[in-house]
Amino acid sequence: MIKKDLSVDFLGVHFENPFLLSSSPVGNCYEMCAKAFDEGWGGVVFKTIGPKHFKVDEVSPRFDELTKEGTPFVGFKNMEQIAEHSLEENLHDLHQLKQDYPTKIVIASIMGTNEEDWESLAQLVTEAGSDMIEMNLSCPQMTSHEMGSDVGTNPELVKKYCAAVKRGSDLPMMAKMTPNITDMVPAAKASMAGGADGIATINTVKSVANLDLDKKVALPIVDGKSSISGFSGKAVKPIALRFLQQLREAAGLEQLPISGIGGIETWQDAAEFILMGATTLQVTTSVMQYGYRIVKDMKNGLMHYMEDQGVDHLSELVGVANKKIVPVEELNRDYKVYPKIDWDKCIGCGRCYVSCFDGAHQAITWNIKTRRPTVDTSKCVGCQLCNLVCPVGAITTGEVRMKPGREGNIEDIDIESARLTH
C-alpha cells in the first residue's frame, strides 16, 4: 500500500493534501463539507457567501450536460449563483466545520457588490474561524451586474475590492479569476496589486451547451427561455491549463501561487494542473457526477505518480512543465517523425487510412485485399494523426528524418511521448 506525503503549503497554510472542493453546490452546508472531510478531502472552499442585501433566487431546472457517444458529463453547464443559505447559517457552518475538523482547511468564498460588502464579509468570515479567503470575482451567472465575472474582467474594480478584503481581514487571500477574458494577466496582476496572495482559476466558461430542437430553445429551459451560463468539467480542462500557463509565464508572475480549477477528475488531471503551476486543486463537476469518493483515487494515484517520479513532496512538481511551453515560433521545425505501423497489432479497421486521406495528406495506402495500411513517406508530413486515431496502438512514432537542407543530429531530438504511442 503506497504511502506518500501529499501535504502542500499554499499561501502560508498547510494542507494535508491538495484536493479541495471548489466553491459551488458541492460545498453548500456543514453536512456536505463534513462528509467531504470524512472521505479525505484536504479542504473546502465553502459556497460563496454574499452580502445580506443580495437575495439569491434560483431557477429550476438549472443544469445541463454535454455528452459524446455514450459518455455523459463531457461538460456541464450550471446556472446556480452563490449560497442560498442565510449569512448567519453560513458563518455558523464555517465556524462549526473548523471546530470539528481542526486539521482540515476551511476557505471562505465571498462576493460583494461594493467595497463595504467585501470588507465586512471578509471580517465576518475571519471571525467565523476560516483559514483563508477566496474572492469570487468570476461567477458568470449572477443576477446582479455588480457581482461576478463582470467585475472580474475589470482590473480597476478587482484591485479595489481586493484591497477592501485585505482591510477587512489579515487572512491569506486568493482571487478567483474568470476565463471569460482574452488575457487573464491584467486581472491577476490587479488582484496582486490589491493585496491578493494568490490566484484561483478558472471559474466556469460562459456557454450555451445544447438546444431543444423542437422548441428551439437552449437548455435548460426555464419557462420557455434560457440564458448563457457557466460551463465546466473535463471539456474545459485544456482552457484552464492554458490560463495557468499564461499566468505563470507573465513577467513577475513566474512564482504565482495558484489554486487550479477546471475539469479535474483523475489523478492524472491533478498531476497536470500541478505540473502547470497549481499548488492546490479544486473540484466540483466530477463530484457532482460521482460524489466525494473520487478523492480516494485522486490521492492514491497521485501518490503512485510521486513514487514513480521519485518525488517526496508535491512542491517539487509545481510548475515543472511551464518552462517547456514556449511560443510556437520557438519550436524545432527541422525534422519530421514518420508513423510506424505494427501489422501484427493492426486489426484492419482502416481508420488511419480514412483520417489520413480526409484529414491529412493522403499518405496512407490501403490494401483492399489484406486490409492493411502502408505509409507513403513521400507524402507523409509526420503529423501523427494516424497514430492518434488507431484504436489498438498499432501506430507509433517511427523513423525521424531531418527535413531536406536542415542541420541537426537526429539522436538529440526528443520525440518520446507515452501519450502518442498509447
Binding site: 455528452t67 457517444e69 455514450g70 459518455t71 455523459p72 486489426i347 484492419g348 479497421c349 482502416g350 481508420r351 487510412y353 480514412v354 490501403w366 483492399i368 486490409r371 484504436p391 489498438v392
Partner: protein, 409 residues
C-alpha cells in the same frame, strides 16, 4: 409461468446503445456490411446511431431489409456480420443484432413509414407462402409497382416466424407489425388457401404475370424408427402448438428428450424449460466442436439448465425409451422420458406445385423454374436456410422477375 415463457430479453436504452455504438471502430470498407447476406448494411446504420441519426439508421435497415426487426432478433449474426467485425481483434464483436433491434424498435415506436409502394406498372405476381422469403419478395415487388397476391395455407401469415420461433426470441407483436407494414404497402394475403388443393397452380398462373413459390420446409422430419410412436412429436408441431396456445398450453410433460443439435432443437429445449419441464435432455448428432446451433442459442439453452449430450445417434426405441450410440467412440446411452421431440430437420411439401425438391431444395440453380412463369425463393431455393438469406433471396427473385417482365426498369 407463461410470463417466463414469453419474456424477451431487455433491449438497449438510448445510453447503452450509444455505448455499444461507440465501441464500433467505424471501419473503412466495413467487413460487417460485406458479410450481411441481405445487405442490411450494419456499418452504415451503426454510424448513423453513433452520430445520433436514428431515423437515418432506420432508413438504412428498412430500405434494405423488409424483416429488419425480425433479423435483429433471430439472425445468427455470429456467422455473418459479427464474424467479420474488426472489433474482434480487440475484444468481442459489436452487438450488431442488438443495435439493429434498438433502431427497429425506435422505428416501430415512431411508426415510421420508410418504404413506399411504387407507381403501379400494371403487372401482378402471385406468391405461394408468406414466410420470410415470400414477405421480402412481396415487399420488393410492391416497391417496384407490382400488384402482389400471397397465398397462405394457414390462418396467419409469417410461416416459421409465426408458427415456429418461440415468443421469448421473437415476440408475435414484432412479427405482426412487420407483416402489417407489408399489407399496408398493398400485399393481398389470401389466408387458409393451400395451393394445389384450394386453388390450382394453373388458375394462379392464368391470373398473374408470374408466380413465386416460397413454401419453405414446413413439415418436421420423423426418423423411421419413431414412426407412429405415440410419445413422439416433431419439433415444428410442438413449437406451433406452444405458439398457438400461449396462455393455455396442455400436455406439458414431466420430462423430455429432444433429438437434434440445430437452433430448432435449442428452441424446443429452451421452451420446455421455460414451461417448467423439470428434466430436458437434448441429444445431438454433432459434437460440440461441429455444433449446428448458433453459439448464442446453445449458450441460452445451457443457461436454462438443459442437459445437452453431443455426438450420439438414436439406435433404437422402445416405447418412450430411446437408446443412443456414440458416433465415434464405443458408448451407449439409454434415456426414458415422458415425451420425445424430434428436431432433426424439416421437409418440403411440393404437392400440386408442379416440381419436386431434393434435400429440401429445388433441383435447378437460381430462382427460375422450367415453367417460365414460375419462380422459387426462400428455403427451397439454393443457399442458406436462415431468415437473412430468405431476405436476400426475396430481393433477388424480385429483381429477376422485374428484369424478365419489364427489363428491370
Amino acid at each position: 409461468m407463461t410470463n417466463k415463457y414469453r419474456e424477451e430479453a431487455p433491449g438497449y436504452t438510448m445510453t447503452t446503445v450509444m455505448e455499444e455504438a461507440a465501441r464500433c471502430l467505424l471501419c473503412h470498407d466495413a467487413p460487417c456490411s460485406a458479410a450481411c447476406p441481405a445487405d442490411t448494411d450494419p456499418a452504415s446504420f451503426i454510424q448513423s446511431v453513433r452520430f445520433r441519426n436514428l431515423k437515418g439508421a432506420a432508413d438504412t435497415i428498412r430500405s434494405n431489409n423488409a424483416l429488419g426487426a425480425i433479423c435483429a432478433r433471430v439472425c445468427p449474426t455470429e456467422k455473418y456480420c459479427e464474424l467479420a467485425c474488426s472489433r474482434s481483434g480487440i475484444d468481442v464483436p459489436i452487438d450488431i443484432g442488438g443495435i439493429q433491434r434498438f433502431v427497429t424498435d425506435f422505428e416501430q415506436q415512431g411508426d415510421l413509414k420508410i418504404i413506399e409502394k411504387g407507381d403501379s406498372n400494371g403487372k401482378s405476381v402471385a406468391i405461394v407462402g408468406s414466410g420470410p422469403g415470400g414477405l421480402q419478395t412481396a415487399t420488393t415487388l410492391l416497391e417496384k409497382g407490382y400488384a402482389v397476391d400471397i397465398y397462405e395455407k394457414n390462418e396467419k401469415a409469417g410461416g416459421y416466424l409465426t408458427y415456429g420461433i418461440p415468443e421469448y426470441r421473437l415476440p408475435a407483436n414484432i412479427v405482426n407489425y412487420e407483416i402489417q407494414r407489408i399489407i399496408d404497402l398493398g400485399a393481398n394475403i389470401k389466408y387458409n388457401t393451400t395451393v394445389g388443393k384450394d386453388i390450382t397452380m394453373t388458375e394462379i398462373k392464368a391470373n398473374h404475370d408470374a408466380v413465386v413459390v416460397a413454401v419453405g420446409a414446413s413439415e418436421g422430419k420423423v426418423l423411421s424408427m419413431f414412426k407412429d410412436n405415440p410419445y413422439v412429436e416433431s419439433a415444428v408441431d410442438f413449437l406451433a402448438r406452444v405458439k398457438e396456445n400461449q396462455d393455455d398450453i396442455v400436455d406439458i410433460p414431466g420430462s423430455a428428450i429432444v433429438i437434434g443439435g440445430g437452433d430448432v432443437a435449442m428452441d424446443v429445449s429452451t421452451t420446455l424449460k421455460r414451461l417448467n419441464v423439470k428434466n430436458v435432455t437434448d441429444v445431438a448428432y454433432e459434437e460440440f466442436d461441429e455444433f449446428k446451433a448458433s453459439k448464442k442459442e446453445l449458450a441460452g439453452t445451457q443457461k436454462q439448465g438443459v442437459t445437452i449430450v453431443d455426438g450420439y445417434v438414436p439406435e433404437r426405441v422402445n416405447g418412450n425409451e430411446v437408446t443412443f450410440k456414440h458416433r465415434n467412440i464405443d458408448g451407449e446411452l439409454k434415456i426414458k422420458a415422458d415425451t420425445i421431440i424430434l428436431a432433426v430437420g424439416q421437409k418440403v411439401n411440393t404437392e400440386g406445385l408442379g416440381f419436386v425438391t431434393e434435400h429440401g431444395e429445388v433441383k435447378f440453380k437460381g430462382y427460375k423454374a422450367k415453367d417460365e412463369k414460375v419462380y422459387v425463393t426462400g428455403d427451397i431455393a439454393e443457399g442458406d436456410k436462415t431468415v437473412v438469406w430468405a431476405v436476400r433471396k426475396g430481393k433477388e427473385v424480385a429483381e429477376e422477375i422485374d428484369h424478365d417482365l419489364l427489363g428491370g426498369n
